[in-house]
Amino acid sequence: MTSTSDDLADYALTARGLTKQFGGFAAVNNVDLSIRRGSIHALIGPNGAGKTTCFNLLTKTLAPTRGTIIFEGRNITNLRAADVARLGLVRSFQISATFAHLTALENVRVALQSQYGKSFQFWRSLDAVAPLNRRAEELLERVGLANARHLAASDLSYGKKRALEIATTLALEPQVMLLDEPTAGMGHEDIEPITDLIREAAQGRTILIVEHNLSVVSTLCDRITVLQHGELLTEGTYREVSSNPDVISAYMGGVDEL
């Protein structure tokens, strides 16, 4: 992946020489990553490969030790999570990240408030944000939660919580969505609706997803980056990656170590 300036224009998100050291241990070591605009890109690797650390670096949850991150031509290496969210790079969380004691509608409305400019108005009633309700309901409908809008997030099933989280993320209309193991801990019957939802949400935007479930990756993702021991192992389509002997041995090796 050599990058000329022509190439750069096609990528929504690129990282160069990304490194994160915890003490003497490099969890992510000198990783180059380019996410093509409009693609669904997966980040996979055996346990401990540094996927989540890499993900946290890209979403600004962690500060990198070295390396640069470019988002839509802009160097975001030193920005905060809140700042990159406003630029259009929004993440989800591995552990379901809803607001447990808020209703589904309120969950989405919180996200909508971030661009509405009334979020410091403590002297106004909630009528001040009532114009957001329609958009919030549209988003809930889109993820199949229209009937759940007045339920507390904590009362939703696991699959519905993930759907709510996607609706909340979509509320920001991000150019790039970073999803951290969106199907983790889900049964078969829940996985398909969520992958359909992700495919639908991908219309007109770029998605980077960290995922364990390889069948999800194979059906959903255009391009796959494989990490091992914090370093880039290979990159390509699912067919290329899955037939790569290094990848096979990395996964088999991972099993042997267990």
């Binding site: 809140a82 969210a85 808020l102 919180v110 979020s119 106004r124 909630l126 009362d155």
Partner: protein
């Protein structure tokens, strides 16, 4: 909704006739602590911040309000506003320092600063040190309303308390309050949605400090003196007890807790140390058996009965953020 109005009307009637049957000073003390409990609830119940030194705003404002009244004799509301302003400024400073940390570290920083404020109040000449600040005059409200007897003054305090509770309700149910509750539930997620949580927490802290200052200033005008007890740690811990007893994260729980604790203190005051021991036992019982507090348990019971009556009715959130009626 009509049920709620009915209950509110009933409560209003009870509050209006209460001083005919009960000692007004006790009632006023309850009302002051209701305001104080609301200010604390805004932080712990709706933002998830445990402030371990809320007495610094309460007692600090008591001294400032008292000092303004003693030296200038301005009308009452200006002196109270002076106390609120001073407490808010202190809140801005303390929040700016302490909100860099969260959880137990935040609690310990607020505790340390509160101890520091206590020491300052002990040393400053205007507070009267160990003797306290005595003889605070109760000037006319707006320069016209004379409420020199406790009976008359009760209605002034009641009006101020009602406005404070209304303000608290409004803050919780505002666009800002919605973000606060989201921060309480999941701060990293709020940040990932493009907010800077520390700004919201700081504003909540300043509002809470101001409201606590109003409670303290009001108490100084009720008793017409302010003492070191008002800035001391027992006040900070008592408001935590009120909140837990009434129900953490419920709208009305801490107010109910405030009433109960004050009545209990009043009743047990003749037993000296036993008051503290009883408080401790009550806290233990609440923590072991009634984790949701009085109002929290009542809400849970009501919800259970409602779901039993109509199995399809949705169970609402455990935090009574949407059902403030109880």
């Amino acid at each position: 909704m009509n049920m709620r109005l009915l209950w509110l009307g009933l409560l209003a009637v009870v509050l209006i006739v209460a001083p005919f049957f009960t000692y007004p000073v006790t009632l006023m003390t309850i009302l002051c602590f209701v305001i104080f409990a609301c200010s604390f609830n805004l932080l712990l119940g709706y933002t998830g911040l445990l402030c371990f030194g809320h007495a610094m705003f309460f007692g600090g404002a008591a001294y400032i309000t008292g000092h303004i009244l003693k030296t200038t004799h301005v009308s009452l509301e200006l002196a109270l506003l002076g106390g609120v302003g001073a407490a808010s400024l202190l809140g801005l400073l303390v929040g700016w320092i302490s909100l860099r940390r969260s959880g137990i570290q935040f609690a310990m920083i607020t505790f340390a600063i509160a101890q520091f404020i206590y020491f300052i109040m002990l040393q400053m000449p205007f507070t009267g040190g160990e003797d306290g600040m005595q003889g605070i005059p109760r000037t006319k409200l707006f320069g016209i309303i004379d409420a020199s007897t406790s009976f008359e003054y009760y209605y002034v305090v009641l009006a101020i308390a009602a406005l404070s509770v209304a303000l608290f309700y409004r803050i919780v149910h505002s666009p800002f309050g919605e973000i606060l509750r989201a921060i309480r539930d999941n701060e990293p997620r709020v940040e990932s949605l493009g907010f800077k949580p520390e700004h919201y927490k700081l504003l909540a802290f300043v509002l809470s400090a101001g409201l606590a200052g109003l409670a303290g200033g009001l108490k100084a005008t009720v008793y017409q003196f302010a003492t070191l007890a008002d800035v001391s740690f027992p006040i900070s811990s008592e408001v935590i007890l009120m909140t837990l007893l009434g129900g953490l994260g419920t709208l009305t729980g801490p107010m109910v807790g405030a009433g109960l604790i004050i009545l209990l203190n009043d009743y047990l005051s003749s037993f000296g140390e036993w008051a503290l021991i009883t408080q401790g036992i009550i806290l233990l019982i609440v923590i072991i058996f009634f984790r949701r507090g009085l109002v929290g348990e009542l809400n849970a019971l009501r919800r259970k009965m409602r779901t039993k009556a109509s199995p399809k009715a949705p169970a609402s959130a455990e935090f009574a953020s949407r059902s403030p009626g109880a």
